[in-house]
Symmetry: C2
Subunit: 274 residues, 2 copies
Amino acid sequence: MKCHVFLVSDSTGITAERLAQSLLSQFHEVSFDIRTLRYIDTLEKVTQVCQQIDQVALHSSIKPIVIGTLVDGRLRARLQAANAHVLDIMGAFLTPLEEILGCQATPSVGLTHGQGEQDTYKQRMDAVTYALLHDDGGVQSHYERADLILVGVSRSGKTPTSVYLAMQYGLYVANYPLVEEDLASGELPGVLRPHTNKLFALTILPERLHTIREERRHGSEYASLAQCQHEVRQAEALFRRQRLPICDVSRLSVEEIATRALQQLGIPTRALHP
Amino acid sequence: MKCHVFLVSDSTGITAERLAQSLLSQFHEVSFDIRTLRYIDTLEKVTQVCQQIDQVALHSSIKPIVIGTLVDGRLRARLQAANAHVLDIMGAFLTPLEEILGCQATPSVGLTHGQGEQDTYKQRMDAVTYALLHDDGGVQSHYERADLILVGVSRSGKTPTSVYLAMQYGLYVANYPLVEEDLASGELPGVLRPHTNKLFALTILPERLHTIREERRHGSEYASLAQCQHEVRQAEALFRRQRLPICDVSRLSVEEIATRALQQLGIPTRALHP
C-alpha cells in the first residue's frame, strides 16, 4: 500500500518532518511518499497547495494525508478544504494550551527574529566554529571552555556528534581521537587529564569500524579488522580504567549519541532552534 | 506568569523539543521553564517522571504542562496519572492514522536500527565529511559531486548552513568564500563556473557582518564597517550579474537559510533523522 503524505509548513518544515517521521514509522506495512511544502504563509499559497494535493488525490487509491503545522488559523481553515485527511497539529494543541494558560495564542511564524533569537543564533554559530576548530584534536588549547569532550578511536562518530550538539544546543564540544601512542601508553593524553569530568567515550563494534574505515581507505592496515579489534580493545580498557561514561555507537544515530552524552554527563540544555 | 513544562520522550526528545518550541512560542506573555526527559522507555521510568512532575506541581501556582511523545500505549496511559496537563502527541494522532490507514500502529521506539537506517546514517556521515572537507573553499576538486554550493563573503553563514544540510538531509554541500581577488575581478572564480546551476548566494547587511567580524577580529581592517560595506556591495553586484538565487541571511536562522536554499534550487529532500 502506498500513501502520499504532504507536510505543509509556514516555515522551515523541520518540525513537521520530525513529527511525521515519528508518527509514520509506526506503520510498517505502509509505504509513504512524503513531500515537504515549506514557507506556505499566505492564503494564495495554501490554495495552490490544495490544488496540488487534489491533483494527487485524483490519481491515488487512498486519500493523501496532510500533516500541517500552520500557525495562522485562517490558513489552517483553508487547508482543511483539501481532498485529503488533514492532521492539523497546531490546531489540535493550541486550543487546549490557550485554555490551560488562560490566554490567546498570537501567531508568529518566526520569520523575523528578536534580539533573543539573535543571541541564540550567535551562540550556536560560535559553538559550531568551536566544534570545527577543536575537531579531531585540532586545537587543544581551549578545552577549559568545552562543555564536553568526546574521545574515541578514529571514525567512531566524534565529529558529527560534536557538530550536532553545537548546532542543536549551542554547546561547546571538542573531540579527541585516540591514536596509537595514546592507546599504547594505556593512559589518557596529558591534555585531557584536567578535564576527565567532561569526557564522554565512544566505542564501536570492531566489525562496524572495519566497514567504515574500509570505505575510506580500502585495503589499508588502518582499516583491517585486526587493527580495528586491537584499537577498540585497548580503547575500551582505557575507558574502563578511567571510569569514563562509555557509549557503544554501533547501532545509534548521531542524535542518539548526542542526547545520551547530555544525559550521562548531566548537561542541562535548552533547544535552540527557531 | 511562569509555567513548568516537561517534555517526555522515549527516545532523543528532539521531536518533542521542536514541537514544544513551535507551540509555546505562540504565547508571548508566559515564561516557560522547559525540561526535556529523554529515554523514558519503561513503566518504572514513567513512574519516576510522574513523581518528579508531582513534586514540581506541589510548588507551582499553575499546573505543569507535559508534552509527551511516548509511542507505547501503556506508558502513555501511565503518564496521564501525573498531576499536570498532559498533551499526548502520539495518542492524538496515532488513532486517526490507524483509522485512515486501516492498520494498527506497531510501537517501535527506534533504538535498534535496521539496514535502511544504517544506510541513512552512512549517507549523513559521508555528507558531513564532505561538508567539512569542502568548507571554506578547502578542497575544490569534487564540486561535480556537490548537490549545492554556497557562495558568499567571509562570515556570511556558509559553514553552519553546509553542515546543517549535510546532517539533516544527507546532502553534499560545498561552500566557497569570495575573497578580495574574486570580488575585484567581478567574475565567478573559474572553479565555480561549471557549476552555476548549483550555486546559492548568501548576502548579509554590512552592519551585521561588521558586528560578527568584530567579535572574531576586533578592530581589524577585515572587520571594519567600510570593508564590510565594500565587500557586500561587490558580492551582490556579482550575484546579480550571474543571476544567482540570493538569500539575505541577516535575520534568518541556519534552518531557514538551509530550507530556502532547498526550495529555491528545487532540491527534493527526504528528512533523514531517526
